[in-house]
Symmetry: C2
């Protein structure tokens, strides 16, 4: 039941079917089922309509484009991002939990990232809700108000980039025939400390290389941002 107000008002104007056979909610659920089964390549308007026992053109009475469908999915996923840490706990730990959760949710939905990163949050209630919770956490930690959004954007950029990295194949850094021209790089790849370290849960189990890199970068970013809190904004560069 996402945003019933306009539907109610519209229903007031004239006779309507009381059972909305199709609607944002059902479309979102069907899209998620499709994505879970066949991935984003399987998410076509035809497949979506087929799953809903409806003609493809019928969907356009409820969404104006496929991008609209992606927006619905995105906003639904945002509700799955863990913001509980910002309600009470220490800032460092809240950001950690939020960032891991955020990355894990979108690692399986990377095709959404180019959409999210560029589209306004208007008409995305769950997304706004998440931003409000995160902002509140920063505020409570004494962050300078005029730096909060920039800090969130920086963290989000790292999270989105890292979500792509999760889907990288293991051999992505295999230079192949070019290895001879890149001895230091090849050596660094070979000695990469994969499998060591602790997992996102703090327990001692093997983690993927992308988990290790994300953990390293996240801790660096959290510490670095904390240290720069209240300093003048800078964007210097040689």
């Amino acid at each position: 039941m996402e945003n019933g107000a306009p539907a109610v008002e519209a229903r007031r104007r004239a006779g309507r079917p009381p059972h909305p056979v199709l609607g944002p909610g059902r479309i979102t659920k069907a899209a998620l089922r499709l994505i879970a089964r066949d991935g984003y390549k399987g998410l076509t308007m035809s497949a979506l309509a087929r799953l809903l026992n409806v003609a493809p053109s019928a969907l356009y009475n409820h969404v104006s484009s496929k991008q609209d469908v992606l927006l619905l999915v995105e906003d639904h996923l945002m509700a799955g991002v863990d913001i509980s840490g910002f309600e009470a706990g220490p800032w460092h730990q809240a950001v950690r939990g939020w960032a891991w959760s955020y990355r894990n949710v979108f690692a399986r939905h990377t095709p959404l990232i180019p959409v999210i990163a560029v589209l306004p949050v208007t008409n995305a209630p769950q997304t706004v809700k998440m931003y409000e919770a995160v902002t509140a956490g920063f505020h409570a930690a004494g962050w300078p108000p005029d730096q909060i959004i920039d800090a969130i954007v920086a963290l989000e950029s790292f999270i989105f980039g890292s979500a792509f990295d999760v889907n990288a194949p293991a051999e992505i850094f295999n230079a192949g025939e070019l290895a001879a021209d890149a001895p230091l790089f090849t050596q660094a790849v070979a000695s990469r400390a994969s499998g060591s370290g602790s997992g996102p849960g703090g327990d001692e189990r093997p983690v993927s290389p992308s988990d290790t890199a994300f953990g390293l970068g996240l801790e660096a970013l959290i510490d670095g941002l904390w240290a720069q809190r209240a300093l003048a904004p800078k964007a210097r560069h040689p």
Copy 2:
């Protein structure tokens, strides 16, 4: 002149036209011209063929798919990323220059990012060359070899995510009708310190919000990574 060796060897095997009318080099250049003119939506195999005065199907004698074309473009762009700082200067400054340059190059080529982030570097000479230079810089700065790749991946993730942010519209954080439900967020957006700070060149001119966020995150990441250098790899999380 991109890797003439295979072509020469192939020419040795049998009779060939001495003037390669089409080839990776020309295809790459044409693709870049198309992207510059019409953006990535204008980069179609038909348009590419038209620009080269050739039938679309002819392209498939030189590339096996459109993804191959994107790979050619990507590797070409990698040559434009500034790695000069790693040859001599201090580590902090070298990373800074590299990261700004890397982000600026791919901010205008975000459709490539999902491709880059997932595809092996094999057969991408410029890409391998860049990684080698960066690895050498980390090595020279005394970085623990088994952490170099993870640190680079973390920086790259931040860079890729930030490249998307560059293309975000100014009103991306306008909550619209939902503003009432997100007072702290709305206030933080309004007080965002945009226009202040110094530009990437260190001079005093207005910078975009994405520049500010990138500068903030990059400095935090650089400082944080430097501080964590030589510490045990960690990926902890509550």
